[in-house]
């Protein structure tokens, strides 16, 4: 054994160990404290979800004794400020939300998915980076600015192009919502397409598929769960959007007969009326009840989207 050549024998060959140092009690205590803190923060999201439900419900619940839920959901007369007989029917508001959301999705889904396909299948690396950043910036525009754009720019455009009297309508809000929800669809959709193994693409090309067939027959079906999640998240965003629809829908309680009719949505109603109600009044409580309704709707949509995403991860 080559024990001879050792430069500093006392350090290298020492068989005795220096006494093992111990951590100070303060350090150990500090660590306990921070770990407790981490655990608390960890479950904070859950606490907040419950808290949101609890506090919104707490303000809205007392009205449930007075209110006929059937009338609440299925009648269309929303006269909360009537002195003698205030009527709270959110039917028209639900339809308003629904119509704007559906039209927005009809516009956004093809564009969102199309852009996702373009980004993941056709783009070079440089171009992809640029486009992704642009889409990220699109997502950063605040909703109140979208609303402003709807009110000033899009209003005039719609009046001119379609030759209608009022430019603040379902179409206007839907275009805004589409532009707002497309970024999230693109990013989730692109992830979903990326998750499709390359072997699918190679197999397709080897069989002589055109790119078109490849996308249509192989990629879209393989990525359908992720794309579904992308659409659902877009729906969630559109249902919950407030400022843009408040400013762009025309804000009249109305069942729309065409996309050029003005409507009003659930979210916009709360935003517009909450400031003018007396705290604790029936009207005030009904607005909180609408909040619960919205919370439940988006909760379900997000839950579905989450299951769809889990679907792609498992594969």
């Amino acid at each position: 054994m080559a024990n001879a050549v050792r430069e500093t024998p006392d350090t290298v060959a020492s068989t005795r160990r220096t006494p093992r140092p111990r951590r100070g009690n303060l350090g150990i205590l500090g660590e306990r404290v921070i770990e407790v803190l981490i655990h608390l923060c960890g479950i904070s999201a859950m606490i907040f979800v419950f808290a949101i439900f609890f506090f919104v419900f707490r303000e809205g619940a007392p009205i449930l004794r007075k209110l006929d839920l059937g009338r609440f959901f299925f009648t269309q007369t929303w006269y909360p400020t009537s002195l003698n007989t205030p009527r709270y029917g959110v039917g028209a508001l639900i339809i308003g939300t629904f119509s704007v959301t559906v039209l927005a999705m009809l516009i956004a889904v093809p564009f969102g998915i199309g852009a996702a396909v373009f980004l993941s299948e056709f783009c070079g690396k440089k171009m992809k980076e640029t486009l992704k950043i642009t889409i990220e910036l699109l997502a950063a525009i605040p909703s109140v600015v979208w609303g402003f754009i709807g009110l000033t720019v899009l209003n005039g455009v719609i009046q001119k192009v379609f030759n209608v009297q009022v430019g603040l309508n379902v179409l206007n809000a839907a275009i805004l919502l589409a532009l707002m929800s497309v970024p999230i669809m693109v990013s989730i959709g692109e992830d979903a397409l990326k998750a499709v193994p390359d072997s699918y693409r190679e197999a397709g090309i080897a069989l002589g598929c055109t790119k078109w067939q490849l996308i249509w027959r192989l990629l879209l079906p393989a990525a359908k769960n992720g794309l579904l999640a992308a659409v659902l998240l877009g729906v969630g965003r559109a249902v919950g959007e407030t400022m843009a629809v408040l400013m762009a829908t025309g804000h009249s309680v109305n069942i729309p007969h065409s996309i050029f009719d003005s409507v009003r949505t659930l979210t916009a109603t709360i935003a517009a009326e909450l400031g003018e109600t007396a705290e604790g009044s029936d009207h005030y409580r009904v607005l909180f009840l609408i909040g619960i309704l919205l919370f439940t709707m988006t909760f379900l949509v997000n839950l579905l989207a989450d299951f769809a995403v889990k679907g792609i991860r498992k594969k």
Binding site: E31, E35, L37, H39, C41, G42, S44, A45, M46, V49, I52, F55, E59, P110, F111, G114, A115, V117, F118, L119, E121, F122, T134, I135, E136, L138, A140, I141, P142, S143, V144, V145, G147, F148, I149, L151, T152, V153, G208, T210, K211, W212, G236, G240, E241, T242, M243, M247, T267, I270, A271, L274, G275, G291, L294, T298, F299, N302, A305, D306
Partner: protein
């Protein structure tokens, strides 16, 4: 290449048949179609930005930023709104960033894969999906009324903080997950505790990713309107110009986003350029912060440590 192509003449392999021509055409068609769809989102962005800037140009100046609105918000600048937005963003971030980062540490480093933590993860996803107006109702019910904070910067910031929390958790989790597991194992093997490992290896190597997420969140918070409408932001408030500490946390404040909404929908006879100028200021702030985050992220990628 179709199988039935005559192989006798090798040159045939390189000439177009009707089949390959059709194939090439559909390919180009597909590319063109999807490309157009992408452009359809990018072009409006550029057009709108240009149009807004053009309309706002007459009013934009340094004075516009540093003077208070006057004459029923028809004249003057936006100082009190700008400062209010800064207060709201900074305060809400001071609350949500630490909680969000620690929550992400829990979910990524401590949480075992069991039903409880699956519910916690689901809660994060759902918190992210709660509509902003519901957050406003929650802020009103919980902070303004229940906690008796009244309508104040503090109540509004708390509301914003809870709204931004899930996004910070998500981006931080992603940053933490990018640190390889082998580093953690190496630390555990030499007797480091979980927290020592996190503190010495995991956080220092993900801090930049975490910061990027937080910066992005700043830009989103700055643009929020609905959650602050009933919890702390007001139509008008006069504050001393040039004093950065003009608001207290129990005060009500103005905010850029709210100011844009007010001037557009409630104020009559405002000069045409005014709302455009407010919109451009708000948008400029948001996009500038965003661009900073993006540049930061690109720069980070160039200096990875492993």
């Amino acid at each position: 290449m179709p199988m039935n192509a005559p192989a006798s003449n090798p040159a045939d392999l390189f000439t177009e048949t009707a089949f390959t021509r059709k194939k090439r055409r559909t390919e180009m068609l597909a590319q063109g179609l999807f490309g157009t769809m992408t452009l359809a989102m990018v072009i409006p962005l550029a057009l709108i930005l240009g149009y807004l800037a053009y309309k706002a140009a007459p009013l934009l100046s340094w004075d516009f930023l540093t003077t208070n609105p006057t004459h029923g918000m028809r004249k003057g600048g936006i100082w009190s709104a700008l400062l209010g937005t800064i207060y709201l963003v900074v305060l809400s971030l001071c609350i949500s960033a630490p909680i969000g980062v620690l929550a992400a540490v829990y979910l990524n480093e401590y949480a075992k894969d069991n039903w409880f933590n699956r519910i916690v993860n689901l809660a994060v996803v759902n918190l992210a999906g709660v509509p902003s107006i519901v957050h406003a109702l929650f802020g009103l019910g919980a902070f303004v009324l229940f906690a008796r904070l009244d309508r104040s910067i503090l109540a509004a910031s708390l509301t914003l903080a809870i709204m931004t929390l899930p996004v910070i958790i998500a981006s931080t989790k992603e940053a933490l997950a990018s640190v390889p597991v082998s580093f953690r194992e190496a630390c555990w093997n030499v007797g480091a505790t979980r927290w020592q490992t996190i503190q010495a290896i995991v956080l220092p190597n993900s801090i930049s990713g975490i910061l990027t997420g937080v910066i992005l969140q700043v830009s989103r918070t700055a643009g929020e309107t609905a959650p602050i409408m009933f919890t702390g932001a007001v139509f008008y408030r006069n504050i001393p110009e040039g004093n950065l500490f003009a608001y207290g946390i129990k005060d009500q404040c103005m905010a850029l986003s709210m100011h844009l909404y007010t001037v557009t929908t409630q104020v009559t006879n405002a000069p045409e350029a005014l709302p455009y100028a407010i919109a451009v200021t708000l948008l400029g702030t948001v996009l500038l912060i965003n661009a900073t985050a993006i540049v930061f992220r690109v720069w980070l990628r160039t200096r990875k440590k492993w």
